[in-house]
Structures are given as structure tokens and as C-alpha cells.
């Protein structure tokens, strides 16, 4: 299992997303996963080997590294990307469930020809009814996970800047020891980049939420006879 197979799994959801959802998915893959894999991983690759402390005390290097970097940026981002992409699978599961029901109904009605079954497999579902709620829930979870990880990031590494020097006084380091971080400027650049793209993704998700809510409202208002909610809204608007 690697990012490529993950990409294959998630891009299957693409068919049932809105336009904004597809843009979000492209931003996720190109500006986050691809940048992480081809660029950021090599910047953080030698973070422990290049972490040097001004001491010959054995063990001090490891202890200080562990104190200042409880979890590496790369691992945090990898977890963030996996968790943030997973709600999209809810939508995929719902679509698969609907297809399964349709196939069963078709077979029961006696029209289970391979061509009809093939048609069901390729059918694109509209985001209405139960699927609308699933989609909205997945969007809300996406936003929550992104925000949670940005908060965790802020708690562990306050500020976006990576310091050149950290002063460490954990046992077994003698007194206070200067420790130097490898490639701090490059790490700062990539941290800012990843945070910025994360912010863009949150905005896209919020925009998609508003778009879906707006579309649902306009659908209800246009066909008030189909839904009691629409008739109620129309009546309220007329009374103002």
C-alpha cells in the first residue's frame, strides 16, 4: 500500500463529487501529496542524522531530538492527508450501497440483463436525498479533521518558523547544550507552503458546503409540491 494505490482509491470518488469537490481533490493530490512525496520527504529525510548537539555526551543527541521533535512534520502531514481524504469514502460506500439496491430491484423485476447491470455500474448519481446528507457529513468531517490537525500542529510546533538552534538540558546532557537543526530555512518554506495549501483546502470545503446548501434550498423552492419544506419556505417568504 502506498500513495499510488491510495490515489487510485480516492480518485474513484471523483465521479460523484461536485465541481468544487473535484478541484479540492486536484489540489490535495497535486499540491499536497505530490509535493510531500517528491520534495518535502527529502528535506526532512536527514532530520535526525543532521541534528547536531555541541557535546560528546552519548545519548544527548537522541534525547534532545526526541524532546524537540515528538512527531516529525512529515508524519503529521501524512496522517493529516490520510484522515482528511477518508470521509470521501463514506460517499463512495453510499453510492455502492445504492447501486447494490438498484441491482437487486432490477433482478427482482426480472430485467437483470448484463446490459442493464452495466448501465447501473456506470450511472452517476445526483447529490440528492440521503446521498446529500452523506456528502454534507463527509464535508463537515473533512473540515473538522483539517482544523484539528492545524491546531495540533500549532500546539506541538508553535509558530511556523523552524529554529536553527535549540537549547536542550534534558538528562544526560551536561547543563545546557546547543543543538542545531538541519535545513531550518528549507523546512520553514515547506511548512508555510503546506499550511497555506491546507487553508486553501478548508476554504474550498466551506465553499462546497455553501454551494450544496444553496442548491438544495433552490431545489426545494422550485418544486414546493415535492416537499412540504419548500411550500413552507415559499409561504414564509410571501408573508414578509
Amino acid at each position: 500500500m502506498n500513495w499510488a494505490s491510495f490515489y487510485a482509491v480516492i480518485s474513484g470518488v471523483n465521479r460523484h463529487s461536485t465541481g468544487i469537490g473535484r478541484i479540492w481533490l486536484s489540489v490535495l493530490f497535486i499540491f499536497r501529496i505530490l509535493v510531500l512525496v517528491v520534495a518535502a520527504e527529502s528535506v526532512w529525510g536527514d532530520e535526525k542524522a543532521g541534528f547536531t548537539c555541541n557535546t560528546q555526551q552519548p545519548g544527548c543527541n537522541s534525547v534532545c531530538y526526541d524532546q524537540f521533535f515528538p512527531i516529525s512534520h512529515i508524519r503529521l502531514w501524512a496522517l493529516q492527508l490520510i484522515l482528511v481524504s477518508t470521509p470521501a469514502l463514506l460517499v463512495a460506500m453510499h453510492v455502492a450501497h445504492r447501486r447494490h439496491i438498484d441491482k437487486k430491484l432490477l433482478k427482482l423485476s426480472g430485467r437483470g440483463s448484463p446490459k442493464d447491470l452495466e448501465q447501473i455500474k456506470n450511472q452517476k448519481f445526483k447529490i440528492t436525498g440521503g446521498l446529500w446528507w452523506t456528502y454534507m457529513i463527509s464535508l463537515v468531517f473533512r473540515i473538522l479533521f483539517e482544523a484539528a490537525f492545524m491546531y495540533i500542529f500549532y500546539m506541538i510546533y508553535p509558530g511556523y518558523k523552524m529554529f536553527r538552534l535549540v537549547k536542550c538540558d534534558s538528562y544526560p546532557c551536561p547543563n545546557t547544550v546547543d543543538c542545531f537543526v538541519s535545513r531550518p530555512t528549507e523546512k520553514t518554506i515547506f511548512t508555510v507552503f503546506m499550511l497555506a495549501v491546507s487553508g486553501v483546502c478548508i476554504l474550498l470545503n466551506v465553499a462546497e458546503v455553501f454551494y450544496l446548501v444553496g442548491r438544495a434550498c433552490s431545489r426545494h423552492l422550485q418544486n414546493p409540491e415535492d416537499s412540504p419544506m419548500g411550500a413552507w419556505i415559499t409561504q414564509k417568504l410571501c408573508s414578509y
Binding site: I30, V37, V38, A39, C53, R183, T185
Partner: protein, 266 residues
């Protein structure tokens, strides 16, 4: 996820590009991405481990490396290639949108799914006219800006030559310390190669932009000529002209008839 997936995404755009666009895409993949992955990454692979400073002061090497190499060349080129490839995806999105609209129209017009029509729609190449022309030219324009921007950033930070020796006096290095860069000549060669490929790509983009603009202007002038020709034809067939001619004839007839009738009465 790697360059392969980006290649798949962009390869789809290839069908709707002009010939210059296809050449640009090939130059991008063969001379830039492949060279980056197969060659440049191993040249810069040991850039920090082999960066040696003439001191035993712990931390001096790290600090000097960070001072002289804020962003590695390899990362800059990776970001450049990703950012420069992205505008092409705008075109891909626009094409998909147009095809979806056309598909909806076909289904609405025919009433049922006509498989052959839809299949031909999927494989059809759309001509670069109308709003697609604007999307395509904006994507070319953005490509140019991003390429130029990244070349300027590379020049600003490093210039195009890699020196063998840098003199560092950052804390905690004692006084001034000589630091030696690993493989400077090989890095200079690859830097020049990547900058040259970048320049070729910019030239191709400019050529493609000019080609599209000239084609659009020619199309506009052809349409204007056709409109003028139609207007002249319509004007020649106006019944009003015929009526005027008829009036003149009648007047002449009347005037000649008056003379003869005068003679008769008299």
C-alpha cells in the same frame, strides 16, 4: 503518488493541445522531469552530508549550509515543475465541462442514450475557439509567468554557477570558516541544463501564444469579410431598388405617352 500520476493527468490534456503544446509537454517530461529524477537527484543527494567545513565546532556546518542553501535546487525545480504544469489542468477541466454540456444536449435532443454519438463525443478533439481559447491562452500566460518567476528566484538566490568554496561567519562558527561544496562542477552543468530547458519551454509557450492570437485574428477577419459579402448580396436583391428602377421606367413611359396623347387630342 509521484511524477507518474502527474504524467497521467497531463497526458490527458495532450489531446486538446496545439502541436506546439504537445512539443512543450514532451520537453517538460523528457528533458526536465526525467532528467530531474534520474540524474539531478543523485547529484544533489549528498549535498548536506558532503558539505564540509574547516572546523570542529559542532553546529557550524549545519548553520553554514542553511545560510548558503536556503532552498535546495532540487526542491526549487520540483516546485517549479509542479506549479508550471498546473495551468494545463484548467484546460482539462474546461474541456471536461464542455463535453458534459454537449453530452447533456445530445441526451436531451435524442431522448435516449445514443451510444455511438456519446462515444464519438468522448473521442472528439475540441477546437480551441470561444471561451476555451481564453482558458487556453490564460493557462499559457500563467505558465510563462511561473517559469519566469522561478528562473528569477533561482538566479536571485544562487546565480547559475555553483562555487567550490564559501566563506562562512555565522554563529557558532569561530571567526571565518571555509566550507566546501560537494560536486560543484556537476551541479553547475545540471543547473545550466535545467535553465536552458526552462528557457526552451518559455520560447515554446511564447510561440504557442502568438500562434493562437494570430489564428484568432485571422478567424475574426474571415468572419468580418463573410459578413460584408453577405451584406452586399442582400443589398443587391432589395425590392426597393427594383421598385426605383421600375419608377424611372414608368416615368419615361408616361412622359412619352403624354406627348402622343396631346397629339391625339389635338
Amino acid at each position: 503518488m509521484g511524477w507518474g500520476e502527474l504524467y497521467t493527468q497531463l497526458g490527458g490534456v495532450n489531446k486538446h493541445s496545439t502541436s506546439l503544446g504537445k512539443i512543450w509537454l514532451s520537453v517538460l517530461f523528457i528533458f526536465r522531469i526525467t532528467i530531474l529524477v534520474l540524474a539531478a537527484e543523485s547529484v544533489w543527494g549528498d549535498e548536506q552530508s558532503d558539505f564540509t567545513c574547516n572546523t570542529q565546532q559542532p553546529g557550524c556546518k549545519n548553520v553554514c549550509y542553511d545560510h548558503f542553501f536556503p532552498v535546495s535546487h532540487i526542491r526549487l525545480w520540483c516546485l517549479q515543475l509542479i506549479v508550471v504544469s498546473t495551468p494545463a489542468l484548467l484546460v482539462a477541466m474546461h474541456v471536461t465541462y464542455r463535453k458534459r454540456e454537449a453530452r447533456r444536449n445530445i441526451i436531451r435532443a435524442r431522448g435516449d442514450k445514443v451510444q455511438e454519438d456519446l462515444e464519438s463525443l468522448r473521442n472528439r478533439k475540441l477546437s480551441i475557439t470561444g471561451t476555451l481559447w481564453w482558458t487556453y491562452t490564460s493557462s499559457l500566460f500563467f505558465r510563462l509567468i511561473f517559469e519566469g518567476g522561478f528562473m528569477y528566484i533561482l538566479y536571485y538566490i544562487y546565480g547559475f554557477r555553483m562555487p567550490r568554496l564559501v566563506k562562512c561567519e555565522q554563529w557558532p562558527c569561530p571567526n571565518k570558516v571555509d566550507c566546501f561544496i560537494s560536486r560543484p562542477t556537476e551541479k553547475t552543468i545540471f543547473t545550466i541544463f535545467m535553465v536552458a530547458s526552462s528557457a526552451i519551454c518559455m520560447v515554446l509557450n511564447v510561440a504557442e501564444l502568438s500562434y493562437l492570437i494570430i489564428k484568432a485574428l485571422m478567424r475574426c477577419s474571415q468572419r468580418a469579410q463573410k459578413r460584408r459579402a453577405n451584406h452586399r448580396r442582400d443589398f443587391g436583391n432589395l425590392p426597393m431598388v427594383q421598385a426605383m428602377v421600375q419608377n424611372e421606367t414608368n416615368k419615361m413611359l408616361l412622359s412619352s405617352m403624354d406627348d402622343s396623347s396631346r397629339v391625339k387630342i389635338l
